[in-house]
Assembly symmetry: C2
Homo-oligomer: 464 residues x 2
């Protein structure tokens, strides 16, 4: 495996300021250049490459910017082999030296075995690791054990504009032969121990508006004779969750997947230094004291967070206002097998009940502003078994079997549209700092990760 | 009484854009011109006039602007007569034609007996009405029945910068001979019936901060394992007041002045069309159904309003944030004889108790950010009796005896520093629109108001 070459390419790719967040024509050009470099690279690998026009993006200010093409590529179509589709992205978060970077963010720099640079771990490094794995077979003139497809986009950090439409359009064409989808766009939860991600929580985001009138009131002139919307809203928000984090909405826990002995063991096996986690989180005390409880409450139990209030006084200082119309915002992280529309009904009924008890003359409107299903994979699927064996071969250990407490829309998208097994197989360590200053990928992770992908191809072929 | 001349002067004064809010050198010059015009006017009246340098104002941007002088003037010093000091201000709120004015805000324009113009009722008209009253005696070459003092400022709308310092400094000099202070800077609560204002509520403004850490959290990554500061804060704010407006802080009602039969009758006598009040307030339903209950809850009972939360998500949209540190803001309108430091202790003890019950690992800090005492006058004081008689003479009716639910810092200031009887004797009607577009004073109010002040001088002399 020509890893020196692989590192040179990573350096070349990191040097492209493929920032999709800042809507600047110069950066958009860099994104196009990035996608062209990747298409070239894949063609050199022998893949047939289709750069699909992404159309254009309408900005809030009315300006229009072109969306970089999404690459669909394929290598091999032997009907006897399984077809694995790899998703990755080559756009990055903004980075400037003066934000606190110790090295230039767009010059890949090795210090103590760490390769620093924007996009090194999110997600240019993992994309190249996959390409390295394919190259290895090519270089040894060996047949690829699996058929490979690539879907590589350049707008992930900006919300994967245009991706969903493409995936739906290509469902019965490009994706029709796909058996497995692999995403490598998250991190381990440890510095040294590999992980496999098999689920994410969903989210249902609610707004509750309480209105007396559109204008605000002065608290001297009206304080004492009004059903103040803030008092109503505070009572509504205060009815949602108790101080132990338990959600108080009746029925909300009814459809939770039962905790099996097998699942319990997965939490026990996970490598998590609670003390370090607490320190790095800068949290004095969590609601729970054990690793297992903490992980379960992040991954397999729902949680309710109150985000804020729109329309009230939020600035520094002391303003004596009675807000006339306020909107509270909260969301519930959903887990298997909660049903989003059941949750919506439960929340609405609960808030209507609490509001009716107050006998307020204000108007209340509850809306579910956003709903994302939870995602859970079957860890007994072939690709999870293959990945576990490959990890054992390359790293000599069992992986941490992890979930993500957040929603990863791309996993949901592939799961929902293609309806094939989706696996998240991360390469980066927990301290890689994706989105932060001094993002890095360890040289060790990058090299062993490339080997891992190659070993995964072999194991997949064996299991198929 | 030369009222034609009085209207000419009002036109001239309204024409000066004496806006103290916008910190613009041109407008500051207009303010200086306004104060010079007033000083001239008072000198023509025969008063000895002292324009006291106001020093300068430091703006938040570091810029410095001069503060217009405060006028101290006096007319007569007969030790056998009472000395009445009149407070007024000649600065105005900003106004632009395009804000929705039907006439030019700086050109006094009469339409259907209404004199439209910025400052017409707040407070140039009433200041001139007082001057008109003095002029009337001068014009008839009659002796003034009382000694008159004036304190006229040009920064009231901007918070009376420099006033308090001057009043304290002049306590034993200019103010030493003052027996009564009259302020005419508020409105009747009816269109046709005069009023006397004898009290205002105070205010104690609280902040309660709940902190887990300085940075925010992502609700996917941390939701479920934290004592979320918003949940704590919502519970704290939710413990303050019930849905009927009753304050739940133990002891808060302990020191309220008892409601006497006499006071009760004052509310009953007040002219208030509830239906019109409700409509003009755009409020579907108040907490109380009778005029008396509504007025008492605005004037003689405390109220608690929750103003908002600093540090949470307050913008439109759906952000999945767990705020790391939030500051709730609420205030209690104080009434006689609540003691501010007792209230402070009650609030702190209550919140500490509620917080301790939650067993949260967050930190809570409660602060009283601002405290203003309530003001109440003795309505049996000579000047209240004199004003009632003068109203009866000029308007043929008893006045509404009213209070203000807001704090009027100037009344407090004179009460606290000079410790003489303070009376608020408004001239303007409830619909004058001070601070709003199309501010006006009715010609009738202006003329009868000038007569009222003259009659008041005579009644004062009789009672003394």
């Amino acid at each position: 495996m020509d890893l020196k070459l692989g590192r040179m390419t990573l350096k070349e790719w990191v040097a492209v300021e493929s920032d999709s967040i800042q809507p600047v024509p110069r950066l958009r050009q860099e994104l196009f250049r990035m996608m062209a470099l990747a298409a070239d690279k894949l063609r050199h690998l022998g893949a047939s490459v289709d750069s699909v026009d992404g159309g254009s993006q309408q900005l809030p200010n009315g300006q229009t910017l072109p969306i970089p093409p999404i690459i669909l590529a394929e290598l091999g179509n032997d009907p006897k082999k399984p077809t694995v589709c790899f998703y990755g992205h080559l756009d990055v978060q903004p980075a400037r030296r003066e934000d606190g970077w110790l090295t230039d963010p767009y010059t890949l720099t090795e210090v103590d075995g760490k390769l620093y640079g924007r996009g090194a771990t999110d997600n240019k490094g993992p994309v190249l690791a996959w390409i390295n794995a394919v190259s290895a077979f090519r270089a040894m003139e060996e047949d690829l054990p699996v058929n490979i497809k690539f879907i590589i986009e350049g707008m992930e950090e900006a919300g994967s504009v245009a991706l969903e439409e493409l995936v739906r359009r290509e469902k019965d064409r490009f994706f029709s032969s796909v058996d497995y989808v692999v995403i490598s766009d998250n991190l381990w939860i440890s510095r040294r121990k590999p992980a496999l991600t098999y689920g994410t929580r969903g989210n249902s985001y609610f707004t509750v508006e309480v209105k007396c009138r559109d204008q605000d009131f002065h608290s001297g002139t009206f304080g004492g004779i009004l059903n103040e919307p803030m008092a109503d809203l505070i009572a509504l928000l205060g009815s949602l969750v108790d101080s132990s984090g338990h959600i108080l909405i009746p029925g909300i826990y009814d459809h939770l997947a039962p905790l099996t002995e097998e699942e319990k063991k997965m939490y026990e096996a996970i490598d998590l230094d609670l003390e370090e986690y607490r320190n790095s989180s800068q949290v004095k005390k969590f609601l729970f004291d054990t690793k297992e409880e903490i992980l379960m409450h992040l991954w397999r139990y729902p949680s309710l967070s109150i985000h804020g209030i729109e329309g009230a006084f939020e600035e520094p200082g002391a303003k004596t206002v009675i807000p006339g119309r306020v909107i509270g915002k909260f969301s519930i992280r959903l887990v298997p097998h909660m049903n989003m529309s059941v949750v919506e009904t439960q929340v609405k009924q609960h808030l209507e009940y609490i509001f009716s008890k107050r006998n307020s003359s204000n108007q209340m409107v509850v809306s579910m502003a956003l709903g994302l299903h939870p995602w859970i994979a079957n860890v007994k699927d072939n690709q999870y078994l293959a990945a576990k064996r490959a990890i054992k071969t390359v790293f000599g250990t069992e992986p941490d079997m992890i979930r993500d407490g957040s929603t990863i829309p791309i996993a949901n998208l592939f799961q929902d549209v293609i309806q094939k097994s989706v696996m998240m197989l991360p390469l980066g360590a927990v301290d890689d700092g994706e989105h932060a200053q001094n993002e890095k990928i360890n040289r060790w992770n990058y090299i062993e990760g490339s080997k891992l992908f190659a070993a995964f191809f072999l194991e997949m072929a064996k299991l198929h």
